[in-house]
């Protein structure tokens, strides 16, 4: 409350930077959601649970096998991607062609089951996970102290987001994928294994969520509820950006992180709701989202 009148421009830069860093989290997570919805038409409410699974894989790797964060960055997404593939193959495939609402309900149920199971065995408070030694410490930028880990988060997320966008929009594989979701029968006639492609796409989206989880483990408490809090905001980001647009969700993720950061300075009580207010506004004015294509 004190800083409304006394915040200096220096302090504001610090807050904006922190907002951008949070935005990179939103961008990474909404990327996975946008890939899954844009390519497969599934509203993946299990995204938060997959994110949490990624963090827990990192935790187990460290606690039981003494494997470092860097190993977890690779193994986490692989493990959770496999879980995602299994989920798609056994459960989601049966809903192909039905109303997207069924996919939403199924994935929501799966999320509740996973979260409940983890809470049952590990409790709700979670467990410690340290920042990797190579990324600990902070830089004194003059206007703020920036932890090295946060700098890593924003750089890594940007890199992943841009590479994903490149693969989907600019490569042959991406083109097959986009074609396969628009007209599976025709693409299958060309000899491309469409069901496998769809399963791998879901697995990729799940792996992206898990990557977010591993990134989050050193700074957010690793607890079963960690995904549930984040998934509503991420959904809002995807809806604002346009449910099918990958670039849209990346840009919107960063932008909303910034806006949330500014709100935290001037009216912090509203910082957890400002994203939804914007979502309501965007839906009223441009229902397909800022970057969405009207079907």
């Amino acid at each position: 409350m004190l800083l409304h009148s006394t915040i200096t421009s220096q302090q504001l830069f610090g807050q904006l930077l922190v907002g951008l860093i949070n935005g990179s989290f939103y961008a990474l997570l909404s990327l996975g959601l946008a890939v899954i919805f844009g390519m497969l038409g599934i509203v993946n409410f299990a995204h938060g649970a997959l994110y949490m699974l990624g963090a827990y894989v990192a935790l187990f790797l460290l606690r039981e096998l003494s494997l470092s964060y860097w190993v977890a960055l690779v193994v986490g997404p692989l493990v959770v991607g496999t879980v995602g593939a299994l989920l798609q193959r056994t459960l989601l495939r049966r809903l192909a062609g039905l109303d997207p609402l069924y996919g939403l309900l199924l994935t929501f149920g799966v999320a509740l089951v996973i979260q409940g199971a983890f809470e049952n065995f590990f409790g709700a408070s979670g467990s410690p996970y340290p920042i990797p030694v190579q990324l600990s410490g902070a830089q004194n930028l003059g206007f703020m102290i920036l932890p090295n880990y946060r700098l890593w988060v924003i750089s890594f997320s940007l890199a992943v987001c841009l590479s994903t966008w490149l693969v989907v929009e600019k490569t042959k594989l991406g083109a097959y994928l986009r074609a396969a979701t628009e007209n599976p029968a025709l693409v299958q006639a060309f000899g491309i294994n469409v069901p496998r492609m769809i399963m791998l796409t879901y697995a990729f989206g799940a792996a992206l969520a898990a990557l977010g989880g591993v990134l989050a483990a050193p700074i957010y408490q690793v607890r079963p509820g960690m995904g549930a809090e984040l998934v509503s905001v991420v959904f809002a980001v995807v809806v604002i950006g346009g449910m099918g647009s990958i670039l849209g969700s990346i840009i919107t993720g960063f932008a909303l992180g910034l806006i949330e950061g500014i709100t935290k300075v001037f009216y912090p009580e509203a910082s957890s709701t400002v994203v939804f207010v914007i979502m309501a506004g965007v839906l009223l004015l441009k229902p397909a989202g800022l970057f969405g294509k009207t079907a």
Binding site: Q15, E119, P130, A138, R223, E229, V265, P268, T273
Partner: protein, 403 residues
Amino acid sequence: MRAIGSSALISCLLISSAVIADDKIVKIGNLGDQSSLYADLGGPGSTIAAQLAIEDSGLTKKGWIIDVIAADHLNKPDVGAGIARQWFDVDKVDAIIDVQNSGVALAVAGIAKEKNGVFLPSGPATSDLTGKACNPNTIHWAYDTYALANGTGKTITRNGGETWFFLTADYAFGHALQRDTTAVVEANGGNVLGSVNVPLNAPDFSSFLLQAQASKAKVVGLANAGGDTTNSIKQASEFGIAAGGQKLAALLLFITDVNALGLDVAQGLTFTESFYWDMNDGTRAFSKRFSERMKTHAMPTMSQAGDYSSTLHYLKALEAMGGNPHDGAKVVAQMKKLPTDDPLFGKGYVREDGRKIHPVYLFEVKKPAESKYAWDYYRLVSTIPAEEAFRPLAQSECPLIKK
């Protein structure tokens, strides 16, 4: 006609007197956060604590039928109020225990008075439960914001922490804790430079920690709990709050939070609690039984210990009354007459404003090297005697006390 009328009248009287007569049936409801950021502070553990109290009361052997049920209030006052109403009206619940989340607790206290039930919260912190919002059906167990402020706030302010900046959970609890701690800080010559209201259950505190750093206050006070506290402590260490010369004051910390943070991050934190599992043989014996039944094998928190103590005292009062009158105000009045004694909180009593009185302790989290066995986390710094721990009646706004 007349015979039918008078026999109808007599049977009505018989039925109504049967209803008024005391029976030996008791139903206890554990209304808590069973799944979100406060679940480890009470939640399923509180149900286990209540069950242990039922066993230790010995009443089931004497023919009493005592049940415990549980429900999740999702940290929403309207959901909690709805469940409380249903429990008192339809499900014949006599007493509600636990209820972490002060917002929900204030709502349930009002309903307990309206429905003449018994409300024994050990979870919520707000001292308003024995202040403005006190009523004859509520006994606030375990701890409250006044005790926390008086313990932690006073100690830190007197030891060089003259200027404070609060990170406050934006609901009843955070505001009560900030208010009570501000009063103690100012009474001891300190000054509050500012505060920021943080939405409940927000994962990222970096913006708020930056504001705390910009304020240059000597102490960053965390007026939050559970998952919010662990996130803010973890991120405070990341942003170099301590390295920058500021002290972190975790105003409400439970043993499950310390376990979740790990001693590397939590070491040195000073805070106030009214129970620690490793204090004496009595607490150790109880805690062993408790952790064997917990799926996570965690040690009991102050709230779960409070639920054991309150349930045991409640059953003792019912036994002294010879049966359950299903009249909340009467039972609470009896609970205020009987002194309390259990291995967890020692000897104490319940005051007229509904405040349970017992000593409170200042603890410090051990360094990793000092911890010799599992859950060996706390070092006792000092004991605050029962008479000084809670708000004196003279300062109370409770309408129940006669001034």
